[in-house]
C-alpha cells in the first residue's frame, strides 16, 4: 500500500480496530483524508475520538487495521510519518521548564527546519494567535488557552500535510479561533488536509466538508454528500446510519 509520499493522500485509514478492557471502541473504521479537505471527527465523550487520533499518530497501537500518513506507516516508519503530521492533542504536553520561544525553537530544530525560516514562521504564528510578546514566558506559567495556542503553533510550524486537531479550539477566544480557521483554510488551499474533533457542532458543520461520527462500541459512520448536508442543517451526535455493521 506504500505510495510515493507526494502522491499518497495525507491520511488513509483501513479497517482500524481498537478495544480496551471495557470493550470495543473502534471497529473497522476506514476513511481517507484527501488533500485540501476538512473532516469533522464527531462523537460524545468516550466515543473514541481521541483513541482514533491516537491510533493515527502512533500514540496508540491498533489491534487491527492500517494507517498511512502520506503513504508512511507510523508503526514501521515513524520518523517519515512524523514529518507528515501536525497534531494537537486534547491535553498537549509542553516542557514547563522552557519558555514558549525555547520550546518552539526546540520543535523547529527537531523538525530539522531552517533556523531563520522557523523564526519567521514562529513570529507570524505567534502574532496570529495573539501570543506576540509571550516568547519569554515559561510554559508552566501559561493559561490553558495560551498553552493550547503554543501547542497549535508547534503543530503547524513545519507546514504538515495532515493536520489533526483534538478539541484544539477549546479554551481559545473567539477571535483567535477565527484566525486559526483562516490559517487552516490557507493551509488547505496549499493541499493540507484537516481532521478536527470538536464539541462545537455548529462550527464544524459550517467549516468541514464531511464528518466521521463515532458513538462508541465500535459504531461509526462517515457522513458525506446529501447525508452530510442534512446533518449540517441540524447537527446532532445522534444522527447518521452505521457503516461498520
Amino acid at each position: 500500500m506504500t505510495m510515493p509520499a507526494g502522491d499518497a493522500p495525507p491520511l488513509a485509514v483501513e479497517g482500524l480496530r481498537k478495544a480496551y478492557r471495557r470493550g470495543v471502541v473502534l471497529d473497522g473504521v476506514s476513511f481517507t483524508l484527501r488533500p485540501g479537505e476538512a473532516v469533522a471527527l464527531l462523537g460524545g465523550n468516550g466515543a473514541g475520538k481521541s483513541t482514533l487520533l491516537g491510533c493515527v499518530t502512533g500514540d496508540r497501537l491498533p489491534d487491527r487495521g492500517e494507517v498511512r500518513l502520506c503513504g508512511h506507516d507510523p508503526f514501521k516508519d515513524p520518523t517519515a510519518a512524523a514529518g507528515c503530521i501536525g497534531f494537537v492533542p486534547e491535553q498537549p504536553f509542553l516542557y514547563g521548564e522552557l519558555t514558549v520561544g525555547e520550546l518552539l525553537q526546540f520543535v523547529a530544530a527537531a523538525r530539522r527546519m531552517d533556523a531563520s525560516a522557523a523564526r519567521a514562521e514562529c513570529g507570524r504564528l505567534l502574532g496570529m494567535l495573539g501570543l506576540a510578546g509571550a516568547e519569554g514566558t515559561l510554559c508552566r506559567e501559561l493559561s490553558q488557552g495560551m498553552g493550547r495556542k503554543t501547542a497549535i503553533i508547534a503543530a503547524l510550524l513545519h507546514r504538515p500535510r495532515a493536520i489533526l486537531l483534538d478539541e484544539a479550539l477549546n479554551g481559545l477566544d473567539r477571535p483567535s479561533a477565527e484566525r486559526l480557521l483562516a490559517e487552516l483554510d490557507a493551509r488547505r488551499a496549499e493541499g493540507a488536509a484537516v481532521l478536527i474533533s470538536s464539541h462545537d457542532l455548529e462550527l464544524v458543520a459550517e467549516w468541514c466538508s464531511r464528518g466521521l461520527l463515532l458513538r462508541g462500541g465500535g459504531w461509526w459512520a462517515m457522513l458525506e454528500g446529501a447525508e452530510w448536508e442534512a446533518w449540517r442543517r441540524a447537527p446532532s451526535l445522534e444522527a447518521g446510519s452505521a457503516t461498520s455493521d
Binding site: 480496551y20 478492557r21 491516537g54 499518530t57 502512533g58 500514540d59 496508540r60 497501537l61 507510523p74 508503526f75 514501521k76 515513524p78 520518523t79 517519515a80 512524523a82 514529518g83 503530521i85 497534531f87 492533542p89 504536553f93 516542557y95 514547563g96 521548564e97 522552557l98 525555547e102 526546540f106 520543535v107 530544530a109 527537531a110 523538525r111 530539522r112 515559561l138 508552566r140
Partner: protein, 413 residues
C-alpha cells in the same frame, strides 16, 4: 545545519535540569532539598548499620544488590515512560537518540545511588578505592544489563507474531499481565548480575580496578545491544507502554472514600476529608508505597523474634524500616508534584486551608506507615524491653511531617 538528534535532546535535557537554578522557586528547593539533607544525615548517622562489610563476599553481594536493585527497577519508567515520549515521537526524533538519552539518565541514577551508598563509608572513615570499585562494578553491570534486558522484553512484547513464553503464562489469569510477562521478569537479570559482578570484583583473581574495567566493557556491549532492541521495539511498544499505565477501577471503588473512621475521627472534618482523599490517591497512584510495607514488616518481625538481640539484626531492621519510610515519603512528595500546575484548584474551590491540607496529608502519610511501625515497634518492645520502641512511631510521625510539608511545597501555589 540541522543538529544531531541526540545533541538536540542533550541540550534540552541540560536546559530542563538547570530549571531550578534558572527559575528558582522555594517549593522546588524545599521539596527536594529537605528530604535530601535528611536522607544524607540519616545515612551518615546510621552508617554502622547500613554499611555492608567488605571483608567478605557476602558484603560485596549486599552492596551489589543495594546498587543494582534500584537501577533495575527504575529502568522501566526511565526507558519507556518519560512524560515527553509521545511528543518526541511525533516530532520524528529517532528512537535510537531517545534511547541513548534515557540510558544516560539511568547512568545518572546509578551514579547518584553510588554516591549515596558511599556516605556511610565516608562517615566511618572506610571510604577508599575498594567500596568505590565494588559499587561501581555493580552499578555498571546493572546499567548495561537493564538496558539490554528491558529493551529485549519490549521487543518480545512488540513482536506481532509472538508466541507466549512459559514464564509469561505463569503470570496468572489476567491476559494483559500475561502479555506483559517478559517485562515482569526483565529486572531480575540486572539485579542478579549486578550483585554477582560486585562479588567477583571483590574476591576475583584480578584487582578490583581490573574487574571494573572488564565489566565496564561488558556493560557497554550490553547497552549497544539494547539500543538495537529498543529501536526495533519502539514504534509498537512505546504506545503499548503508555496504555499499560491504564489502571482499572479499584475494587473498593463503589464503597467511596472512607472519611473519619478509626483514629482519623479525631481529625477536624476538613483535614479528615483531605486525609481520605490523599490516602486513596497515594494508594492508587503510588501503589508500591503501600505494597512494600507488608513484606518488610513480616521479615522485620521474624528477624527480631529470631535474633533481635544481635546488634547487626537491629541495624538491618532499622535500615529496612528507614528505607520503607523513605519510599513512602517519596510517594507523598510525588503526590504534591502531581498537584503542581493547577490541580490544586479543587482544594482552593473547596476552601481548604493550608493547615487542613498539611494535617490531612500528614495523617495519610502517618497512617500508611502504621502498618510498619506498629507490628515492628511492638515486637521490638517485647524482645528488647526498654530499648525505645516508641522511637518507631516517633520516626514515622516525623518522617510523615517532613514529607507532607515537602509535598505541599512541591504542589506550589
Amino acid at each position: 545545519m540541522t543538529p544531531n538528534p541526540l545533541r538536540l535532546l542533550l541540550s534540552l535535557e541540560t536546559r530542563r535540569a538547570a530549571d531550578p537554578i534558572r527559575n528558582p522557586s522555594a517549593g522546588t528547593w524545599i521539596s527536594v532539598g529537605v528530604p535530601a539533607v535528611l536522607g544524607v544525615a540519616a545515612l551518615w548517622l546510621g552508617a554502622d548499620s547500613v554499611r555492608p562489610d567488605l571483608r567478605g563476599g557476602d558484603g560485596a553481594i549486599t552492596l551489589g544488590l543495594m546498587v543494582s536493585a534500584p537501577v533495575a527497577f527504575w529502568a522501566y519508567p526511565i526507558l519507556f515512560r518519560p512524560a515527553d515520549d509521545a511528543l518526541l515521537r511525533r516530532l520524528g526524533i529517532p528512537a535510537r537518540a531517545s534511547y541513548w538519552l534515557r540510558a544516560m539518565r539511568l547512568a545518572a541514577l546509578a551514579l547518584l545511588i553510588l554516591v549515596l551508598l558511599m556516605i556511610p563509608y565516608a562517615a566511618t572513615g572506610t571510604l577508599g578505592p575498594l567500596p568505590l570499585a565494588v559499587a561501581a562494578t555493580a552499578g555498571l553491570m546493572a546499567w548495561g544489563t537493564s538496558l539490554s534486558s528491558l529493551s529485549g522484553a519490549a521487543e518480545t512484547i512488540a513482536n506481532p507474531g509472538r508466541r507466549l513464553e512459559l514464564t509469561s503464562m505463569m503470570m496468572g489469569p489476567d491476559a494483559e499481565l500475561v502479555r506483559a510477562g517478559p517485562l515482569v521478569w526483565a529486572p531480575l537479570p540486572p539485579v542478579i548480575f549486578g550483585a554477582f559482578a560486585a562479588r567477583i570484583a571483590l574476591v576475583g583473581v584480578l584487582p578490583p580496578a581490573a574487574w571494573l574495567a572488564a565489566f565496564a566493557g561488558l556493560a557497554a556491549v550490553l547497552a549497544l545491544r539494547g539500543a538495537g532492541r529498543f529501536e526495533r521495539a519502539a514504534p509498537r511498544f512505546l504506545p503499548q507502554a503508555a496504555e499499560m499505565a491504564y489502571a482499572p477501577a479499584p475494587e473498593t471503588g463503589d464503597a467511596g472514600l472512607v472519611i473519619g473512621r478509626g483514629l482519623a475521627r479525631v481529625l477536624p472534618p476538613r483535614a479528615g476529608a483531605v486525609r481520605a482523599r490523599d490516602a486513596a490517591v497515594v494508594a492508587r497512584r503510588f501503589r508500591w508505597a503501600g505494597r512494600i510495607v507488608w513484606p518488610v514488616s513480616v521479615v522485620c518481625v521474624l528477624a527480631i523474634l529470631r535474633a533481635g538481640e544481635r546488634p547487626a539484626v537491629q541495624g538491618w531492621v532499622a535500615a529496612a524500616g528507614a528505607l520503607v519510610l523513605g519510599m513512602q515519603a517519596a510517594a507523598i512528595i510525588g503526590l504534591g508534584r502531581l498537584e503542581r500546575g493547577g490541580r490544586r484548584w479543587l482544594d482552593r474551590a473547596a476552601g481548604l486551608a493550608t493547615a487542613d491540607r498539611l494535617l490531612g496529608r500528614w495523617a495519610a502519610a502517618f497512617g500508611m506507615a502504621l502498618a510498619l511501625v506498629i507490628p515492628v515497634g511492638i515486637t521490638w518492645a517485647m524482645i528488647l524491653p526498654g530499648s525505645g520502641a516508641w522511637t518507631w512511631v516517633a520516626a514515622a510521625a516525623a518522617s510523615a511531617l517532613v514529607a507532607s510539608a515537602a509535598s505541599l511545597a512541591a504542589a506550589g501555589r
